[in-house]
Symmetry: C2
Subunit: 337 residues, 2 copies
C-alpha cells in the first residue's frame, strides 16, 4: 500500500470511528458488488454501534435477498423523514458518477450538509466526494471496503464478511476475470480462515435461477443463427417472449456468453426488441482485429473494440439483417488488413 | 502441516531429487485435475533435468490441449519400448484405485521393478503405492503437488504452475465447491504473484465450447419437463440426438446443473439412452430429506442421498415414467416424515 493510500484509509477510518449517522448507497440497478459493498460496510458500522441507513434506488434484486441484512436495505420510496434524522455522513459505494446513485438517493443527501465519502474501483470516477478512495486496481469495491476495515482495526462481522465475499466473487466472475489479483485471493483466504462457508454461499450466489430464465435460454437457443462460416452467432429477444415468460429487466444479462464461448465464433450479437419498438443491439468480439465498435458507430452506437452496442430502428428482422451485413464487412476488412 | 505429512513430503522429495526416469499417469477419462497434476509434476521434473514419460490411457481431452506441454502426454497405444527404457519410478496422480489408471498404463509398470508413488486426494484411496500421499482435505491433487514441490524447494516453472492452477480451478468448480479451503486461495495468490495470467487461463479453461454442446443444450431444454408442481425437472438424451450432433462421451457432463439450479426444483433427473438400449439415469436432490439413492436402489442403482444413478431397461419413455413415479413416492414420504 502506498503512503497516500494509507493516509486516505486512515482519514476515512477516523470518520467511521468518530462520526455517527451514516447514509450508505450504491448505483442504480445494483449488482453483487453494489449491494455487497453497502451491506459489508453497513453491517460493520452497525456492529460498532453506529446509526446506519442503507438505501437503494432500485431496491435489492431477488437474487441477492439471501444475504443476511439485505432486508435492512431500504428501497428509496420507502424512506421516511424519521430515518433521515441525524445523518452526518453519506458513503457512495461502487458508483462511478454521482447521478448513477439515482435521483431519489441524491435527493436524500445533496444540500443536506452531509460529508460525502466516495469509495469505488471505476477508473472513470471523477472524485465527486469530499473524500475519494478510488482504487482502479481493485477488481471490486468490496475488496477495497474489506482492506479499509482491516487496515483501520475495525471488525468485520460474519454478515459483513459474507456480503463482501459476494461483492468480490461476482465482480471477478468467480475469480476468472483479468482484474482478479493476488490480493483478491489473499482476502478470500483470510475470509475462509475466519469462517466463511464457501460452498454454501457460492451455491446461493451461482446455483439458483428462476424457471423463466431457463425458458428464456431455451427460446434464445431456438432462434440462434450462425452465419459467415459459423464465425458470427446471433439471437433475438422479442417483446412477445418477454410478456409470455414474464421476464424482468436483468433476466437476459450475461446470456450472450453462451454463444460468445462457441469455439468457431468471432462475433456474438444479441438483438432485443424494446417496448418502444426500437432494437437494442449488444455485440461482442473475441478477436482484437474485429472491431465491433466500428460496426456500432455506423448505427449511432459505440463502446469498446471488443464490446459495443447500438439502438436501431425496428422491425427486428430488418435491424438484424443490416447489422449482420455490417459485421460481415468488418470481418472482411479485418482479414484483408 | 503435521509431522507425518512433512516426513512424507520429504520422503517423496528425496525420490524426486535422487532418482531418474519417471513414469507419470492419472485416471482414465482424465479431467482437469488429472492432466493438470501430471503436467504440473512432469514439467517440474523435466526442468530439474530428469527423464520423464507422461502417459494417459485415454489421451488428453481436446478441452485441455491448450495447456503447454499437453502434447508431451503420450496416449498409451503410442508408447514405444524405447520410451520405457530406464524408467525407475511410477507416480500415480489423482487416481483412487490402481485399476483406474487403465489396463494399458498398468501394463507399463506392473512387475517392471518400478517404485510406485501414489499421490491423491480421494478418501477412498486404499494406498496401493510403495509411498502414499493421500490428503483428502485437499480439494485437488494439483494442490498437493504444488505444496509438495514448494515444501521441498523444487522449482515450479510457468507451464507447471499453469497446469496446477487448472487442476485446482476445475476440481473446485472455480473455487465454489465446499472442498475449497483457505490454503487453496493462498496457493493461487502465490501463483498469481508468480506471474499466472488469471484472465487468459480462465478464459481458455471455461469460456470455450464446441457448437455441438450448445446444440445439445438446446435439444435438452426442448425436452425439459417439470412435474410435481415444478419440484421435479427431467430431460432425456436419445441415441438419435447423439448421432445427429456427433456428440463425444463427455459432452453431456455437468449439464444437469442447468435444471438442478432452478429455484423450484428439488429433484433433477437426466435420462440417457445408451447404445445397447439400456437407459442411464442420473439424479440429483437439493433437499437432504429427499433421498434419490433410495429411488435408484429400487432400480438396482445406488450412490449418495443427494446424487445417485441407475441403469434401467428401455424404452426411454417407459423408464422415465417409472423412475419419476418413484421420485414422487420419495417426495411424498419426505413431506410426511
Amino acid at each position: 500500500m502506498s503512503d497516500s493510500v494509507e493516509l486516505l484509509y486512515k482519514q476515512i477510518g477516523d470518520v467511521l470511528k468518530e462520526r455517527d449517522g451514516f447514509l450508505l448507497s450504491a448505483h442504480v440497478r445494483p449488482d453483487g458488488d453494489a449491494i455487497g459493498s453497502v451491506l459489508g460496510l453497513g453491517l460493520a458500522l452497525e456492529a460498532m454501534g453506529k446509526r446506519v441507513l442503507m438505501v437503494s434506488e432500485d431496491g435489492v434484486p431477488a437474487s441477492l435477498e439471501f444475504l443476511k441484512g439485505s432486508d435492512k436495505v431500504v428501497h428509496v420510496p420507502d424512506v421516511t423523514p424519521e430515518m433521515l434524522e441525524g445523518l452526518e455522513v453519506m458513503v457512495a459505494l461502487d458508483t462511478a458518477t454521482q447521478p448513477r446513485l439515482g435521483e431519489g438517493v441524491n435527493a436524500l443527501f445533496v444540500d443536506k450538509g452531509m460529508q460525502v465519502i466516495n469509495i469505488d474501483h471505476h477508473i472513470s470516477n471523477p472524485a465527486y466526494g469530499d473524500i475519494n478512495l478510488i482504487d482502479s486496481h481493485s477488481p471490486a469495491t468490496g475488496q477495497i471496503v474489506y482492506d479499509l476495515l482491516k487496515s483501520q482495526g475495525l471488525g468485520v462481522p460474519a454478515g459483513s464478511r459474507d456480503a463482501l465475499f459476494v461483492a468480490i466473487s461476482t465482480d471477478t466472475g468467480s475469480f476468472q476475470f483479468p482484474s482478479t489479483t493476488a490480493r483478491t485471493f489473499e482476502v478470500v483466504a483470510a475470509m475462509t480462515r475466519d469462517g466463511l462457508n464457501i460452498g454454501e454461499i457460492s451455491s446461493l450466489t451461482y446455483h439458483r435461477q428462476p424457471l423463466r430464465k431457463v425458458r428464456l435460454l431455451q427460446d434464445l437457443l431456438n432462434c440462434l443463427e450462425l452465419s459467415s462460416g459459423d464465425r458470427v452467432a446471433s439471437w433475438s429477444l422479442l417483446n412477445s417472449t418477454k410478456e409470455r415468460l414474464e421476464l424482468l429487466p436483468d433476466d437476459s444479462e450475461d446470456l450472450i456468453d453462451h454463444i460468445r464461448s462457441i469455439d468457431s465464433v468471432v462475433v456474438a450479437v444479441f438483438f432485443e426488441e424494446l417496448p418502444d419498438g426500437k432494437i437494442r443491439v449488444s455485440s461482442r468480439s473475441k478477436d482484437p482485429k474485429v472491431n465491433v465498435c466500428n460496426v456500432c458507430l455506423k448505427f449511432g452506437g459505440g463502446g469498446h473494440a471488443m464490446a459495443a452496442g447500438a439502438r436501431m430502428a425496428g422491425p427486428i428482422e430488418e435491424a438484424r439483417t443490416k447489422f449482420l451485413a455490417a459485421v460481415d464487412d468488418e470481418l472482411a476488412a479485418a482479414s484483408n488488413s
